[in-house]
């Protein structure tokens, strides 16, 4: 019998019920809840008189709406305040653990899961957020769900899922120095397109992936959804175990050894077959900058924005629409694009390693005149760690704003947002129209590239700064 892939092993370990030709009922190990996609789900439970089936497998946090400054003052946004109050009320009523805005342990849902050791290899993890695949970095199957499914998991701890096909993205060669996990995933998305992963569960393999830290693997898995895949994962190895050891919710003592032995079974067998294999050459990759309005529209920092006139006439309209929105003519050198704002943060790039990388570029330099730059740590813990290392000083001395933890200007639900026409170098995950505020223009980059753009006032290869 042929071997199994990592994905198939996780799937098989969680089947509650299956019937040929139908979706399977899968058991969920960990359900992460936040304020934006949950209020209607709790309402649904209340109306049906249902309870949360496993409060011990459910944890809630305030992240999407929370302000990143002036937290001692009342929220200026009354609707956001009402949504946060609803989560506080709902978690109390249903008996759930909840990290509110002022608690230690608060942070972006996809940062605190791994940080607290809740995210573990072999698990199925869901959250009402499309970037849930972040948790796949530890060798878990993690995916985003909608509000109806949030209600479903709260009530049943299970989900009906049609089995996706499997895809291996085999990354060959090593990344050049200064080329990061963010560049890698942007490069992969540019190669396979926003629809390249639709219908697939991706496993990232190869030398360059093995060489990534846990933070780097999280950055890669995080953006699987931007290629259309619902989930992306990296098999656990010693890097994973070293990361998880000693964390609050990680197994302790003799349980730890048992857990590691169990986790080690969640690897793709040598004779397993993927439905599709995509190869990506990491050795040729340069730092990436997106120029358009979806994450596949990117180029090397040394490259140029494409020109509509180079396309057949019938295919120009979407490119023209993207360029018009971005305020670009086409043909510009990426390094000639001047920026107004810089955002370093989000579930893609707000972990301690990301902040260290950005700080190493910012150190001893200053943000360019006319540029406003902010750093938003992914969690309270990341913020504490960064401050213990003096990174906050590096940033503030260089003219960056140093903020409290949250999703912030990744999706502009809180006061941090672009004004129409402003152009931003951002370490987040989406450059969609209006994503960082109505009319705002987003260019996705790595933390190093964002810091370098802040210093130079335009995009520049951080390795040459």
């Amino acid at each position: 019998m042929a071997g199994k892939t990592l994905f198939e092993k996780i799937w098989d370990a969680h089947v509650v019920r299956e019937e040929a030709g139908k979706p399977s009922l899968l058991y969920v190990d960990l359900h992460l809840v936040h304020e934006v996609t949950s209020p209607q789900a709790f309402d649904g439970l209340r109306m049906a008189g249902r309870k949360v089936r496993r409060i011990d497998r459910t944890v809630a946090v305030a992240d999407h709406n929370v302000p990143t400054a002036d937290r001692d003052k009342p929220l200026t946004d009354e609707i956001a305040a009402a949504q946060l109050a609803a989560l506080a009320r709902n978690t109390k009523e249903f008996g759930l653990e909840y990290f509110d805005m002022d608690s230690k342990g608060q942070g972006i849902v996809h940062v605190i899961g791994p940080e607290q050791g809740r995210t573990q290899p072999g698990m199925i993890i869901v959250c009402g957020d499309s970037h849930t695949a972040t948790h796949g970095a530890v060798g878990a199957m993690a995916f985003g769900i909608g509000t109806s499914e949030v209600e479903h998991v709260l009530a049943t701890q299970c989900l009906w899922q049609a089995k996706p096909k499997t895809m291996e993205i085999r990354v060959k060669g090593a990344l050049k120095p200064g080329v990061t996990a963010k560049d890698l995933i942007l490069g992969i998305i540019a190669q396979i397109g926003t629809g390249g992963g639709v219908g697939y569960a991706i496993e990232y393999t190869g030398e360059a992936v093995r060489g990534l830290s846990m933070e780097g693997r999280m950055t890669v898995c995080n953006m699987s959804i931007e290629a259309g895949a619902r989930t992306g994962m990296v098999a656990a190895d010693q890097t994973t175990f070293d990361y998880l050891k000693g964390r609050e919710h990680s197994p302790q003592g003799a349980e730890w050894d048992k857990a590691v032995a169990y986790w080690k079974t969640f690897v793709t067998d040598k004779d397993a077959k993927f439905d599709k294999v995509v190869e990506f050459d990491a050795s040729k990759l340069e730092p990436q900058v997106t120029w358009g309005t979806n994450p596949a529209q990117g180029a090397n920092v040394s490259g140029r924005v494409p020109r509509p006139e180079d396309l057949p006439e019938a295919e120009r309209a979407p490119l023209e629409k993207a360029l018009k929105y971005m305020g670009l003519a086409g043909g510009e050198a990426i390094s000639d694009i001047a920026i107004d704002r810089v955002f370093i943060g989000s579930c893609t790039n707000s972990r301690i390693e990301d902040l260290r990388a950005a700080a190493s570029v910012a150190k001893g330099r200053h943000v360019a005149k006319g540029v406003s730059a902010m750093v938003v740590p992914g969690s309270w813990v990341v913020k504490q760690q960064a401050e213990a290392e003096g990174l906050d000083k590096v940033f503030t001395e260089a003219g960056f704003d140093w903020r409290e933890a949250g999703c912030s200007m990744c999706l502009a639900m809180n006061p941090d947002r672009l004004v129409p026409g402003e152009r931003c170098a951002s370490t987040s995950n989406r450059n969609f129209e209006g994503r960082q505020g109505p009319g705002g223009r987003t260019h996705l980059v790595s933390p190093e590239m964002a810091a370098a753009a802040a210093i130079a006032g335009h995009f520049v290869d951080h390795r040459t700064l």
Binding site: P23, S130, I145, G146, S148, G228, P318, M413, P438
Partner: protein, 195 residues
């Protein structure tokens, strides 16, 4: 959930690929804690000018397409954020179905959960429907879920695939949670055996 069997309606063409859920419903409108009032916010940034007046160039503001119930768009419709507010907004505007060559994965499940039908047709069939909706005033199609077919009076008869489980639930208007709780014993047994 209301059952979906058969629907005939006016087609609204939006000929763009990669329509993400941030376009369908921008994040600033996700702070509501109830499920209503999203219809007027659908495609907000594209549909309204900065002063709040309707943008005449956007398809939903074209009087020809007023009362449209079937949206047809380019590939990769509904990519991005998992927000279920996207199908809520489409449905509350009055759409019963969306036709595209392909859909964002989470968006598609969210549609099923709400009885909004996502129909994937070939690029060629989608192109035909977009062009007819642009050229023929009052152009309608009929969606027959039982037969899994989209038809028009000009001879189009396009078959679409749908997961049989989703199809049954849509035809009957079944609630997933109720269905799952019929398996409560199996869930409990799984939990007992699970590590």
């Amino acid at each position: 959930m209301e059952p979906f069997k058969h629907h005939q309606g006016l087609v609204v063409p939006y000929d763009m690929p990669n329509v993400d859920t941030d376009q369908i419903i921008p994040a600033q409108f996700l702070k509501k804690i109830d499920r209503v009032g999203f219809g007027e916010l659908l495609f907000h940034a594209l549909r309204y000018n900065k002063d709040g007046s309707p943008n005449k160039d956007f398809v939903l503001n074209d009087p020809r397409y007023a009362g449209g119930t079937i949206l047809v768009a380019g590939p990769q419709f509904g990519i991005g954020s998992s927000r279920e507010h996207a199908p809520w907004a489409l449905q509350q505007y009055g759409f019963k179905a969306v036709i595209s060559p392909s859909f964002g994965d989470i968006f598609k499940s969210n549609c099923y959960q709400n009885g909004l039908l996502p129909i994937a047709l070939s690029e060629a069939d989608v192109r035909t429907i977009i062009e007819r909706a642009q050229e023929l005033k009052g152009y309608q199609v009929t969606i027959d879920l039982e037969a899994q077919e989209v038809r028009d009076s000009a001879g189009l008869a396009a078959h679409f695939a749908i997961d049989p489980f989703r199809k049954q639930n849509l035809l009957k208007g079944l609630d997933d949670i109720g269905l799952t709780l019929q398996n409560a014993d199996a869930i409990t047994a799984f939990e007992k055996a699970y590590r």
